[in-house]
């Protein structure tokens, strides 16, 4: 169909500019300069240690999860950018190169059609996708995000993806070659904790853990299963530990702390110690929230604590962060939080900040050493489940 071009010409009639000749303010002889377009912000290749990845599960639209990159130390401009992490995604920032890995799942028609699981490799500087590795089998584990669902091994050359169908398995991915190396069945065990130079450990439903060393081709090599140490019925360990070097510190439901050394080819249980339980609990103080334990660079632990601890309270969030010295096995300090919080993360600066995420998606930031409240950062995400400090 041809329509007269005159229509457009008429449409172009100047409608209303509402602008008379402007008065020129004597104070400003020159107008503001023109600004270039297009203009797109870029980030540093290496993020400052005050930056935190805040994962947004986005419960009201699970297919459209995302991660906010947030500078928690800045007075303003805190949100630096967003990274998509679709459908129970995982985010894993690399430390050896300027890349951020995201495990995610798509359907060709958003909620239906063909399923595609991928690891997307994001450029840290531009926040643009620079690569994608398709994961076969449509089996990437979909659950409320846990950091140990996607991990590195082999000096960050490989990625480990935990699958759940509900059968458990681990996919080993070569990030340089952008290809899948192997699939390792893992019946009865969950998640991946990088172990030794090239391997991982999984926590098992019988209370043990199994460490698997990988050969150069990514295949399962020597396997070591530990004694039973995780009393899942009576005092289960939270799945997300605080990492101090290669040592993981796990909190338990009732408030004990267990160390696991993942530096060797097989994980080594360092034993458990109790956090002294001060008075004031009703019925008792227990860890509560989603990411309940974190560590600073000096190796101090922070545990999000709920005064109303009891069976079933373990995801209820908390009102204090308890600072624990795992070497002295001692409660060092208690930080009273301004608000009921969901998850906590310590930054890796020499003078660390403690970040507490709240149910409304905002963050409260504290001086980790003094407990002094620093700022609230609003408008970060919808559902801030996990946080990962830049390293």
């Amino acid at each position: 169909m041809r329509r007269a071009a005159s229509r457009i010409a008429i449409a172009m009639t100047i409608a209303a500019l509402h602008v008379a000749a402007p008065a020129i303010a004597a104070d400003y002889p020159q107008p503001l300069p023109e600004e270039p377009v297009p203009a797109v912000a870029v980030l540093p290749e290496k993020y400052p240690e005050s930056w935190v990845f805040v994962h947004d599960l986005h419960f009201n639209s699970l297919p459209d999860g995302r991660v906010a990159v947030v500078d928690v130390a800045a007075e303003n401009r805190n949100v630096k950018g967003q990274i998509p992490a679709a459908q129970f995604g995982n985010v894993l920032p690399a430390t050896t190169r300027p890349e951020i890995l995201v495990g995610e799942t798509f359907f060709s028609r958003l909620t239906r059609g063909e399923r595609t699981d991928v690891i997307t490799i994001w450029d840290a500087k531009t926040l643009s996708p620079k690569g994608e590795i398709v994961l076969p089998g449509g089996k990437r584990g979909l659950f409320v995000t846990l950091k140990n669902s996607l991990q590195f091994t082999n000096n960050e050359k490989w990625a480990l993806v935990f699958n759940f169908t509900p059968g458990s398995s681990v996919t080993v991915v070569d990030l340089d070659a952008r290809k899948v190396l192997s699939d390792i069945d893992l019946p009865g065990c969950s998640l991946v904790y990088p172990t030794g130079p090239r391997g991982f450990t999984s926590l098992c439903a019988d209370g043990t853990m199994t460490s698997i060393a990988l050969d150069a081709a990514g295949r399962a090599g020597p396997t070591v299963t530990s004694k039973v140490f995780n009393d899942i019925d009576k005092d289960a360990l939270f799945m997300s530990p605080a990492m101090v070097g290669r040592t993981a510190w796990f909190a338990s439901f009732t408030g004990n702390i267990r160390g696991i050394d993942f530096s060797g080819a097989a994980a080594r249980d360092l034993g458990m110690f109790e956090i002294a339980k001060p008075a004031g609990g009703d019925p008792e103080w227990r860890p509560g929230g989603w990411q309940v334990i974190t560590a600073d660079k000096a190796g101090l632990l922070y545990v999000l604590m709920n005064p109303h601890g009891k069976e079933g309270s373990h995801k209820d969030g908390g009102t204090e962060a308890w600072v624990i010295d795992p070497v002295k096995k001692a409660l060092v300090r208690r930080i009273a939080l301004k608000n009921h919080s969901v998850s906590i993360e310590a930054t890796q600066q020499a003078s660390p900040l403690l970040v507490a995420s709240k149910p409304d998606g905002s963050l409260d930031v504290y001086d980790a050493a003094t407990g002094a409240f620093q700022r609230t950062i609003v408008g970060v995400v919808h559902d801030p489940m996990t946080m990962t400090a830049a390293r």
Partner: protein, 184 residues
């Protein structure tokens, strides 16, 4: 353990009625027959801060049966003692029915809830409804008996839209499977 054994037997028989469910159960190793206290679905403490969720504001939905009391749009309805997710009652389904156009997950996590009317303990199957995006209404989360991902069959953070055509989670039901202990 005899009570529990007979429960397990009942469960096995019940589960066996559904072939697809059984085949999935094989994968997880028969999880449903044990250690199945109060597992529930994807938690979002961020949205349901207070234990049990907040009042939905929905118009009450009752069964009309005095033996099945309570409001199915509220988190405190007796069958929801182990639910975690959007209540299908608020999404076009009911406590035991998926909304139109979704698919009920064949594998499920189960809980044991006491019915305040008849004082019986019922086995409740929390089947997810799958294939449409997050319903968004009546988020409800109760974690009594929930255990971490290390014990999947007792973990409420998992998207149980497994073995369905689409893995997209819409809402959760609470279906009566039977009484917890054989009364005979």
């Amino acid at each position: 353990m005899s009570h529990l054994d007979s429960f397990a037997e009942r469960m096995t028989r019940k589960v066996a009625r559904s072939t697809s469910r059984r085949s999935l159960l094989t994968l997880i190793g028969g999880a449903i027959t044990g250690a199945a206290t109060l597992p529930v679905l994807p938690v979002s403490r961020a949205q349901a801060q207070s234990h049990g969720g907040t009042p939905s504001g929905m118009a009450p939905q009752t069964t009309g049966n005095p033996q099945d009391p309570g409001d199915q749009t509220q988190c405190d309805y007796w069958r929801y003692c182990a639910i975690d997710g959007f209540l299908c009652s608020c999404c076009g389904g009911s406590a035991s029915t998926c909304p139109p156009g979704t698919e009920m997950s064949p594998i499920t996590w189960i809980g044991t809830c006491r019915n305040p009317a008849d004082n019986r303990a019922y086995i409740i199957s929390y089947n997810d409804c799958c294939g449409k995006s997050s319903c968004g209404n009546c988020l409800c989360n109760r974690n009594d008996g929930d255990r971490p991902m290390v014990r999947p069959q007792a973990n409420n953070d998992i998207n149980w839209c497994l073995g369905t055509e689409s893995a997209i989670y819409n809402c959760s039901t609470a279906v009566i499977l039977g009484v917890a202990v054989d009364e005979k």
